[in-house]
């Protein structure tokens, strides 16, 4: 098995706010991430696909195809957006790194037909990142 990782970056804004919580609870639980005007990050996304290289091409999958999937499914949706209001998949959810990484997994997993999606790693900052794995991994 070979694991191939492609990295892309996107920049986006968000805020954490749960309307079921009181304003005090929102501030206590989410801290400065609750600022109603939002704030932003340079996210780094690493997508790892596992598979056996095709003997004819020597490739797990065509990197150009993976690049196009990442552009279409992730960057066109999330780059330079306000995640809370401009990304329908995140509507009504708290766009934490966990939530965004899980959403990215759900968007990518059905699009990858050569090899299989092994890991989605999303950095919000160099000191905070989340890994998503499929069931049984």
């Amino acid at each position: 098995m070979v694991y191939l990782t492609r990295k892309v970056e996107f920049s986006a804004s968000h805020l954490y706010h749960n309307p079921a919580f009181s304003p005090e609870e929102n501030r206590r639980i989410f801290g400065k991430c609750n600022n109603p005007h939002g704030h932003g990050h340079n996210y780094i996304l690493e997508v790892t696909v596992a598979g056996e290289p095709d003997p004819r091409t020597g490739m797990v999958l065509d990197l150009k195809e993976l690049k196009d999937i990442l552009q279409r499914e992730i960057l066109d949706r999330m780059d330079h957006r306000f995640l809370n209001v401009e990304v329908p998949e995140l509507a009504g959810r708290i766009p934490t790194t966990e939530t965004i990484a899980m959403t990215i997994w759900q968007l990518l997993e059905p699009r990858i037909h050569q090899g299989r999606l092994h890991r989605v790693r999303l950095y919000e900052t160099p000191d905070l990142f989340v890994d998503c794995f499929g069931n049984g991994q």
Partner: protein, 140 residues
């Protein structure tokens, strides 16, 4: 889907690799310049990886403010800007290699109540990093 949250912390500390029961020659042969009796230091990066269900009300595996306070109390307060051999009791009788630091910090941080500790990683330098997942080879 399994979700693993990684949080990185920075601390700077000095140490010396030296076994009390060995001669100076043996220590220098095994540990090289790391056995310098005056010690030396590193900027360490601690990677704490936790797993658990994502709470739909918060979108979180755990609240980072809780985790940061716990790691500060259980690890950084004692490990940052100290001479590990002398000032951290665990290393008075245990050589403070990065491997042993991973094990000591795993034992200290596994008590975190809000998520399950998956891995402790420590980067000693940009070229050397270590991970510990708990347990021993036999039961992993």
């Amino acid at each position: 889907m399994k979700v693993v949250l990684h949080r990185r912390y920075h601390f700077s500390a000095s140490h010396r690799l030296h076994q009390l029961g060995w001669t100076d020659e043996e220590n220098f042969r095994v540990y090289g310049k790391c056995a310098n009796p005056h010690g030396h230091g590193h900027n360490y990066i601690l990677d704490v990886a936790l797993t658990g269900p994502v709470d739909p009300a918060t979108g979180m595996v755990t609240n980072l403010a809780d985790l940061d306070a716990f790691v500060e109390r259980q690890a950084l307060a004692e490990f940052d800007h100290v001479y590990l051999n002398e000032q951290v009791p665990a290393f008075r009788s245990l050589v403070p290699t990065t491997e042993n630091m991973c094990r000591v910090l795993f034992e200290r941080l596994r008590a975190y109540p809000h998520a399950r500790l998956e891995t402790i990683g420590i980067q000693e330098t940009a070229a050397n990093s270590f991970e510990y997942t708990g347990g021993t080879q036999e039961n992993e």
